[in-house]
């Protein structure tokens, strides 16, 4: 599963794979072994990064994740990497049309915002998937005409499930 996070000016691209009893993490190209375990009864986690011990409190607020580490609070925005790609595409000028929009995360399809045959502009919302109690609006990165809709509203999807195809 991939994430793109921001803390002030800093950004991090992260890919997480569950491997047996720990997590294999690729953070900006660095391979790390992580373990993230909740402590009993609280939103507090023991985090091991390559064996180094950290303890963090985590709270979700207004779409951000507030991480308290050593008594200091950090506000982190965690997004889907697609949003980063989208940002890059916005700066990249015209691109070829046609794309398949997939759910970046496992979750519930809350809304489909397009029908087959609709013309979708770059950046236009096509679906909303709810996960982590957050509604994630999925937008067309390139744009095109809706050729197929692969899911229905109120259905659960997994990460990578095709939602909408554009040509």
């Amino acid at each position: 599963m991939k994430f793109w996070s921001q803390l002030g000016e800093r950004e991090q691209d992260l890919e997480v794979r569950v491997t047996g009893t720990h997590l294999d993490v690729d953070a900006d190209g660095r391979a790390l072994a992580a373990d993230f375990v909740p402590l009993p009864g609280e939103e507090v986690f023991s985090l091991l990064i390559d064996g180094r011990v950290h303890e963090v409190s985590v709270e979700e607020k207004d779409g951000a994740i507030l991480v308290t580490l050593h008594g200091q609070r950090h506000k982190v925005l965690v997004r889907h990497p697609l949003e980063k790609t989208l940002r890059e595409v916005r700066h990249a000028g015209p691109a070829a049309s046609g794309e398949v929009i997939e759910s970046p995360i496992p979750g519930l399809v809350v809304a489909l915002k397009v029908r087959v045959g609709d013309v979708v502009a770059k950046g236009q919302a096509v679906a909303v998937v709810e996960a982590m109690k957050m509604q994630n609006e999925l937008t067309a990165q390139v744009g095109g005409t809706v050729s197929a809709i692969h899911v229905e509203e109120k259905k659960n999807v997994e990460a990578g499930t095709k939602l909408v195809s554009l040509t």
Binding site: M1, F3, S5, L7, G8, R10, Q12, L14, V16, R17, V18, T19, G20, L23, V25, A27, L32, A34, F36, P38, E42, V44, F45, L47, I49, H54, E55, V56, S57, V58, I65, V67, T68, L69, H70, G71, Q72, H74, V76, V78, I105, P106, G107, L108, A131, M132, K133, N156, E158, A159
Partner: protein, 495 residues
């Protein structure tokens, strides 16, 4: 003496109750409404309500405290520090009600509570004094004349002042006019007495104080010094013993001066004689605190004594009978005051629920706390929530241990100064013991507490891993496979 009421709250009330229980005495707590479930109420044998949260209707109300003490059939009252501890009228009221006041006599408190009277006692005892005006200065002209004789820089101080309030540094004659009126105004407002006096301002001063114990039979002992030079806005934050600048010969002169002052004041019970010292170890009398100090544990750590137990015995009329080893302190001790305050916002007090609390322990560490996890820290009172104290064979070990202890400490929910302490304890000036009372003012800026890149890295990672964990666990499945099985599937699919 069988039943002792503690006219205080917070960590000091808890600390006193512990000793009373050790001594087999009944401990009686008192509380204001917001403190009904405070730690000192929970650990006492008995507890009675004083009144509403407002201190003057509860912990500062002499009639209420006396009334409750009478109803509770208390034999004695320990005032702790702050609140009514240095109030001669209260000490008198306790005696008039037929109870023992655990502290010096009302007349001693009254005399030493006036800084000018205290100076005269010290002068008569032959203790060194900072050059200053012989008495209060009535107006700017008199102040200006006195200032010429003493020399700048000067300190303008309220005669009835204390706790860092009502004092001002004057660098030159230009500062005098406005400072005079301001200080008088503050003195009037804070202490109801607008007399002010002048003193030479010692540059790069250290605050060093003597712990003394005196019984009603004329015995006075010196239990070593405490160096409290790390201060923010004239309030102590870290204290230690021995003073890093004291040599045995300085200490001997220091002990002699402190004992002479205690004798001259006919002092009975535990007391602290405060001095200001320059970096060469020249010291000058400041004032006498007629109570147990916040920082008394560092003295207990190196002497092995329980100062509250000694106070109780002295108040009970017993003779001082200290093991001789306690007069030759062993090792070094450092105390960090854990305040509910935001160091990055000019040490603004913070209040609210302590959502998480993990206090340090282990070799050479003592923790005195007045709160527990889940407790709502009221905004009405002092923001001191705990004291972490270390002991080591030498200063280096005491420093290493307190640094380790502060690394372990977790206080969340409200803002505490734990991160500030971690910064401070890592400063070379502190590690070398080369600090003075203006050190924090010169060296500390809120930037010092800014997150390090390493911390930000961990926070970024933690946030993403949290999102990952949530993504795995909130997958809406009805009686489906557990999240662990699901995690396996994710793993296999991604492999």
């Amino acid at each position: 003496m069988k039943r002792v009421l503690i006219a205080n709250r917070g960590e000091i009330a808890v600390r006193i109750i512990r000793t009373l229980r050790d001594l087999g005495l009944t401990s009686i707590a008192v509380y204001s409404d917001p403190d009904r479930a405070a730690l000192h109420v929970l650990v006492a044998d008995e507890a009675y309500r004083l009144g509403p949260g407002l201190a003057r209707e509860s912990y500062l109300s002499i009639p209420r405290v006396i009334e409750v003490a009478r109803a509770a059939r208390a034999d004695a009252i320990h005032p702790g520090y702050g609140f009514l501890s240095e109030n001669a009228e209260f000490a008198q009221a306790v005696q008039d009600a037929g109870m023992i006041f655990i502290g010096p006599s009302p007349s001693t408190i009254a005399r030493l509570g006036n800084k000018l009277a205290a100076r005269e006692i010290a002068r008569a005892a032959g203790a060194p004094l900072v050059p200053g005006s012989p008495g209060p200065v009535a107006d700017v002209a008199a102040a200006s004349a006195a200032a010429k004789t003493i020399g700048y820089p000067l300190m303008l101080k309220a005669a009835a002042g204390g706790g860092g309030k009502g004092m001002r540094v004057l660098r030159s004659a230009d500062d005098l006019g406005s400072a005079f009126e301001l200080t008088r105004g503050e003195a009037k407002a804070a202490f109801g007495d607008d007399s002010v006096y002048l003193e030479r301002f010692v540059e790069r001063p250290r605050h060093v104080e003597a712990q003394i114990l005196a019984d009603a039979h004329g015995n006075v002992v010196f239990l070593g010094e405490r160096d409290c030079s790390v201060q923010r806005r004239h309030q102590k934050v870290v204290e230690e013993t021995p003073s890093p600048i004291f040599t045995p010969s300085i200490r001997a002169k220091f002990a002699e001066a402190a004992i002479a002052i205690a004798r001259a004041a006919n002092y009975v019970n535990a007391g602290t004689v405060e001095f200001i010292a320059d970096p060469d170890g020249n010291f000058y009398f400041l004032e006498v605190n007629t109570r147990l100090q916040v920082e008394h544990p560092v003295t207990e750590m190196v002497t092995g004594l329980d100062l509250v137990a000694e106070q109780v015995k002295i108040a009970d009329g017993q003779k001082l009978a200290l093991p001789s080893a306690s007069l030759a302190p062993r090792g070094a001790s450092i105390e960090c005051r854990i305040y509910a305050e935001d160091a990055s916002r000019n040490f603004m007090p913070s209040a609210g629920e302590v959502t998480r609390l993990r206090l340090p322990a282990g070799p050479g560490i003592r923790t005195d706390a007045g709160v527990y996890q889940g407790f709502q820290v009221p905004i009405e009172y002092d923001p001191l929530i705990a004291k972490v104290v270390s002991w080591g064979e030498d200063r280096a070990q005491a420093v290493a241990r307190i640094r380790r202890a502060l690394e372990e400490t977790v206080v969340e929910g409200l803002t505490s100064n734990v991160a500030f302490h971690r910064w401070l304890l890592a400063r070379p000036e502190f590690i070398l013991g080369d600090v003075h009372t203006g050190f924090l003012g010169e060296s500390f800026t809120p930037d010092a507490l800014k997150a390090t890149p390493e911390a930000e890295e961990v926070a970024l990672l933690a946030a993403s891993l949290h999102a990952h964990a949530r993504a795995l666990s909130v997958r809406p499945v009805e009686r489906g496979p557990s999240q662990w099985r699901y995690a396996d599937r994710i793993a296999s699919r991604e492999r």
